[in-house]
């Protein structure tokens, strides 16, 4: 039986959906699943982690771990992996996951695969599927090492609410702080704004909105839907939207239930950032815009005309309930 260690993704005291999804996948593969949770205040999450499918909860709770620091966090994961004798170590798709995974792999002399969309444990070697060349192709990769560290694409695995585990807490000793890489400050993203990576609905604005007036118009739509408000690279480069709003290969990768692209042409780097969305709606003046090749529903039209209509129609739908 394979042993999977899932590195819990915790934000503001909440366990993110990736953790549950990864645990569900582990259990569906017939593997034994454990979690490792690291932070200043994570001990209380053990029951919830057990509920989500973890049979052993490695907990590193220490004031020194309040802020993410790749070195010490990776050390804690390696500690848990060794204690659990994990074959597979999985991270959710986050900046911290991407920073930790190669370190953990190097320390365990294991292969590392990033953004995997599937995994096959049935053969003599573990195989994973992952995208390459800016998501233009997929690759099937053979793992040659006994252990594999993987970062899983957002939304690649489904959460199974029927899965459950058992509470079995193992406390980890705090690793040494990284004295050569010291986090001085965390400049938080504007509070009150919905985190794109967590949002169920994301509305993104592109070059078609032209300027601040257009941006404000689209933001109204996002507000109506209680959605995360994102951007294509064009509007970030143009100085209209902050960099942390950029959806795309060089920005945030999102996989919400509904992604609404307004005035976005659909450059491959942008598509790489939202291709995993469940449902995509696109509005663009150009019927040939590449975004229509991936949108489930496309409206060819002027966003300045369509967005107010969308808001109206959506309000009508809400009233129907």
């Amino acid at each position: 039986m394979a042993k999977v260690l899932v590195v819990a993704e915790i934000k503001k005291g909440n366990i993110k959906s990736s953790t549950t999804e990864l645990l569900s996948k582990a259990k569906s593969l017939g593997a034994e699943a454990a979690t490792v949770a690291i932070g200043a205040d994570v001990g209380a999450l053990a029951p919830e982690l057990a509920n989500a499918g973890s049979d052993t909860q490695y907990i590193l709770e220490d004031a020194g771990m309040a802020f993410f620091s790749a070195g010490p966090y990776a050390s804690a994961v390696v500690d848990a992996a060794k204690q659990f004798e994990a074959d597979l170590i999985w991270f959710g798709f986050s900046e911290s996951g991407k920073a930790m995974a190669p370190r953990v792999a190097a320390q365990l002399d294991a292969a590392c695969a990033t953004e995997i969309t599937d995994i096959d444990l049935s053969g003599k070697h573990v195989e994973v599927i992952r995208p390459a060349i800016t998501n233009k192709v997929m690759q099937r990769v053979k793992v040659n090492t006994p252990k594999l560290v993987a970062v899983v694409r957002a939304g690649a695995f489904e959460a199974d609410t029927g899965i459950t585990g058992s509470e079995n807490v193992v406390k980890l000793a705090a690793p040494e702080a990284d004295l050569k890489a010291v986090i001085e400050e965390l400049v938080s993203e504007a509070s009150g704004e919905i985190d794109l990576a967590d949002a169920d609905v994301v509305v993104s604005v592109g070059r078609g909105a032209k300027d601040q007036a257009g941006i404000d118009l689209v933001r109204e739509l996002a507000n109506d839907l209680n959605a995360g408000f994102g951007s294509s690279r064009a509007m970030v480069d143009g100085g209209f939207m902050a960099h942390n709003k950029q959806v795309g290969q060089t920005g945030k990768i999102v996989a919400p239930t509904l992604y609404i692209a307004i005035g976005i042409s659909g450059a491959i780097q942008h598509l790489a950032g939202m291709n995993g969305s469940k449902v995509i709606l696109a509005v663009n003046k150009d019927p040939e815009a590449p975004i229509f090749n991936v949108a489930d529903y496309g409206i060819v039209g002027d966003l300045f005309e369509v967005v107010p209509l969308l808001r109206e129609e959506i309000a009508k739908q809400k009233r129907k309930r």
Partner: protein, 260 residues
């Protein structure tokens, strides 16, 4: 300050790709410098201009990289090393990292700058694994670099909860994101000068190492085949009267897609 900056030659991702019989069709492929490494090169040149840093570029594999390396010279890089060896044909991130380790150990560098990922593999591992092998502090996804003094830099990293400001003791490895800068276009004078500049091309033996020393026969993973990306199914596109089609689409979103 002595900077070692990496550059990988990669396929131009803007091109249409074909997957045939599990492989990517090679005809008509164009190669460019990995966009993330280009930003690393720009960052190195900026540090040269602001702090008098000495810059050395290293590229591993890729066949004839002279165009790419000369472009970096034209941007302002002073020295270029290209490691090419048949033993590296199946190199994975850990093998590249071993080779880069050997290059680093032959010099006297204070800072290693790399792009955070390569646009062909999108792996994002080599720079971090290199730091592990060298036992150096490392920060990834860096969007800003400030020199504090000869021994310290401060970087801004785009993290999950916001921007992290991290102080690093040199020598260190910094993996940059493209948002850190806009790489300059080489100017005619730089291009002309670059044509005459020497590139240090060597194989593993020339580097003072060997296939065994970099474990090149044992990649930790290998690509078995390429497949086309699954295209999304469905896709209804509506043209016509804005009010009508918008009403139709919202109705579909609510009742067909159950997304509202």
């Amino acid at each position: 300050m002595k900077i070692l900056v990496t550059a990988k030659k990669v396929v131009d991702v803007e091109l249409t790709m074909h997957v045939q019989d599990g492989a990517i069709v090679q005809d008509g492929m164009q190669y460019v410098i990995n966009a993330w490494d280009e930003s690393a090169v720009e960052a190195a040149v900026q540090l040269k201009e602001s702090h008098g840093a000495e810059t050395t570029l290293v590229s591993v594999g890729g066949g004839d990289n002279s165009d790419m390396i000369r472009r970096c010279y034209a941007m302002g890089i002073e020295q270029g090393i290209h490691i090419e060896d048949p033993a590296l044909a199946k190199a994975d991130s850990s093998i590249y990292a071993r080779v880069l380790q050997k290059v680093y150990e032959k010099g006297d560098y204070d800072l290693i700058l790399t792009g955070k990922q390569a646009q062909d593999t999108d792996s994002g591992q080599t720079g971090i694994i290199l730091a592990e092998y060298l036992g150096l502090p490392c920060v990834s996804n860096v969007v800003g670099i400030d020199v504090v003094d000869d021994q310290h830099i401060q970087v801004s990293r785009s993290g999950d909860s916001g921007t992290e400001i991290v102080s690093l003791e040199l020598p260190a490895v910094v993996n940059v994101d493209v948002s850190i800068n806009e790489p300059r276009l080489p100017q005619m004078r730089g291009i002309m000068m670059a044509k005459k500049k020497k590139i240090d091309v060597m194989d593993l033996a020339g580097l003072g190492t060997s296939a065994d020393a970099v474990n090149s026969a044992s990649p930790k993973s290998e690509v078995l085949e390429f497949m086309p990306t699954e295209t999304r199914k469905g896709g209804q596109k509506f043209e016509g009267d804005a009010a009508e089609i918008t009403a139709k689409v919202v109705e579909l979103l609510a009742n067909e897609a159950k997304a509202l």
